[in-house]
Amino acid sequence: MYEYLVNILFSVTGNQFLAQASVMILIAALPLFVVILPYALAAVLAERKVSAFMQDRIGPNRTGYRGLFQTLADILKLIQKEDIINSEADKKLFNISPLLVFAGSYAAFAAIPFSGMFIGTNAEVGIFFILAISSLVVAGILMGGWASNNKYSLLGAMRSAAQIISYEIPTALVILSIVMLTGTLSLNTISELQTAYFWNWNIFGGAAEGFKQFILIPFMIAGFIILYISTLAEVNRVPFDIPEAESELVSGFHTEYSGMKFAMFFLAEYANMFAVSAIIATVFFGGYQSPFGYLGNTLNFPLLIPFEQFFWFMIKGLFFVFVQMWLRWTLPRLRVDQLMTVCWKYLIPYAFINLIIIGIISLL
């Protein structure tokens, strides 16, 4: 597909470099426009509808059929809004910050395998890349909080940086245990190893053989729980939404942002939610693999398989996004010291023990 497009553009423009570059940009932009933006629009609406359902309300129901276009209308409104930069702000950093946050969360999608065919880059170090690139978000948040020259923003940014960096450790430890088990950093390979039926998923012991598989199950479930909790904290969702704790810090690091810059933080948050859900689905729940085999194989129509895989991947990812929303509208918020306690006193030691045990089992 890449070469085909390059050839067409080369024949039109007559410039090899221009053709290659524009095709690359096109491919890079594809997931954004095909998956992430529609997903973010749907997720914001879903969040409001889910919360309305949980809170005995109706939710948005005026724009379009049952409020389907509500988010679209909101985004259009935000684009039209005046872009306010307060006079005391550090303008350069203030402007870069939302871009950096958005880029960090969006770049993670490059290495996420949506299906066997649809993957931005099948990098050998895919999961490492995701962990590394999503740390960019911290820099963006710190910049935004500092540049706003607002005390609430600064407090929010400081908390956020401390929180995200702390919770990266248990995340990395749990992912490391999977990497040890599978022997690869490539998310695509991890998904392929969990093929066929759902008992091959890592949460059920993965592709390990015989009794090893059964011994692994409790530790895998423990690992999943640790990973889920720490990713919740990494994307600043309730009960760990301390950086933007609205009852204390107004809206934390993005208090001073308005218009499209605010929308970028907002979209980045929802993109992040899906990114971490996708990682969980990939490392523990078979990634894009179907739990029961493929219709394409049964019908002897292999072209169908990538679409089926895409379907299953989205189902799994969106399920975890839904659980995040469910938690958000049920739980209160932890305090900042309690948040750190949860991470350093519980999650990290448990993740370490889990890592060691899984390592021993996989050596057996």
């Binding site: 309300r57 939404d241 204390e248 509208w329 739980l331 918020r333 305090r335 309690q338």
Partner: protein, 370 residues
């Protein structure tokens, strides 16, 4: 490099969780609170001064606007004070109606307190549940007097309208409906692990501090003293009803912490339901306006009369010079006292705890500033 100096943080008057227009000047060292200074007056409407140019019945609608979450009770307190000053006795039915309305108002007020407290801690959903239930109480009030927030219902010597014929039936329905809702609230919020972590052992109000500052109401009871004017200085017909006075026991932490203050309010709603049940069962027939004097000219003298409003001791001090207007009206507002003790409670806690503590003392700025 960040210098480690004290930071002054201004919370409010435009802040999502200062419960109205309160400005807190917070001295921070990192995230630790060194000192909190509340600044008042953003909602000052000269209630007390204004009373001096109004006739006595004209004051009633102004009392509504003090504690706007418990308007019924403000009316009630003023009516009791005026009746004591005038030395008149109101019909039985009026007393029952007042008690029913007062206790419904207490539930409605506590529902707002508990719901917004959930929001302060970060749980948004209980807020909508409590407001849904409060809505039902407001509908009962609307049915009776036409208003949903500022009622002007309890007048000197009577009430403005008799009850709607369906009122008692619907109130009984509400009691049946509401009892399981308290359990639901407890399951969703009160016994939530994170909620307990946030509120237990936070903002402890020791008994002696509470007494020294003059804190009353649920905040005092949460510190372990069973002091309730409905029982200790009975007014109206509260001495006829059976009810308990919930006190803080330190179930989840220390006596007098935020969780205790929260939970005392939950328990008080149950007790209010008991009172309403008894009152609905025994309310007599009769005229509700026969004791209302047409033109009120109290004898020269002073009266201090206090009632237990949802936030504590609401006292009216009225000086009459024998004319049509009071010489002076002074209100002892429970929220004002509860706010004074805030600085004491917050010292050494985190920024997040200020919000938890402020929510737990449950102030209404309309009453603080008057």
């Amino acid at each position: 490099m960040l210098k480690t100096e004290e930071m002054i943080l201004n919370m409010g008057p435009q802040h999502p969780s200062t419960h109205g227009v309160l400005r807190l000047e917070v001295e921070l060292e990192g995230e630790i609170v060194k000192n909190v200074r509340p600044h008042l007056g953003y909602l000052h409407r000269c209630f007390e001064k204004h009373c001096e140019v109004l006739t006595y019945p004209q004051i009633v609608p102004y009392t509504d606007r003090m504690d706007y979450l418990a308007s019924m009770y403000n009316n009630f307190g003023y009516a009791v004070a005026m009746e004591r000053l005038l030395g008149i006795k109101v019909p039985e039915r009026v007393e029952y109606i007042r008690v029913i309305m007062g206790e419904l108002q207490r539930i409605a007020s506590h529902l707002v307190a508990l719901g917004t407290y959930g929001v302060d801690i970060g749980a948004f959903t209980p807020f909508l549940y409590t407001f849904r239930d409060r809505e039902k109480i407001l509908s009962l009030f609307e049915m009776t007097c036409g208003a949903r927030l500022l009622y002007n219902y309890i007048w000197i010597g009577g009430v403005s309208h008799d009850l709607h014929p369906d009122f008692l039936r619907l109130t009984s329905d509400f009691i049946r409906y509401f009892k399981p809702q308290i359990t639901e609230l407890n399951n969703l919020l009160s016994y939530n692990k994170i909620f307990i972590e946030r509120t237990a052992n936070v903002g402890i109000l020791p008994v002696d501090t509470a007494i020294n500052y003059g804190v009353t109401g649920p905040n005092l009871r949460a510190s372990g003293i069973a002091y309730d004017l409905r029982r200790d200085d009975p007014y109206s017909i509260y001495d006829r009803f059976e009810f308990e006075i919930p006190v803080g026991k330190g179930t989840m932490g220390t006596v007098g912490d935020c969780w205790d203050r929260y939970f005392v309010r939950v328990r008080e709603m149950e007790e209010s339901l008991k009172i309403i049940e008894q009152a609905v069962a025994s309310i007599p027939e009769g005229n509700v306006q026969e004791a209302i004097p047409k033109r009120i000219k109290p004898p020269v003298g002073t009266i201090y009369s206090r009632v237990e409003n949802p936030r504590g001791e609401l006292g009216y001090f009225i000086i009459s010079d024998g004319g049509l207007n009071p010489f002076r009206v002074k209100v002892r507002a429970p929220s004002f006292v509860s706010l004074e003790v805030l600085g004491e409670l917050c010292k050494g806690h985190f920024v997040a705890d200020i919000i938890a503590i402020l929510g737990s003392v449950d102030i209404v700025l309309g009453e603080v500033d008057r």
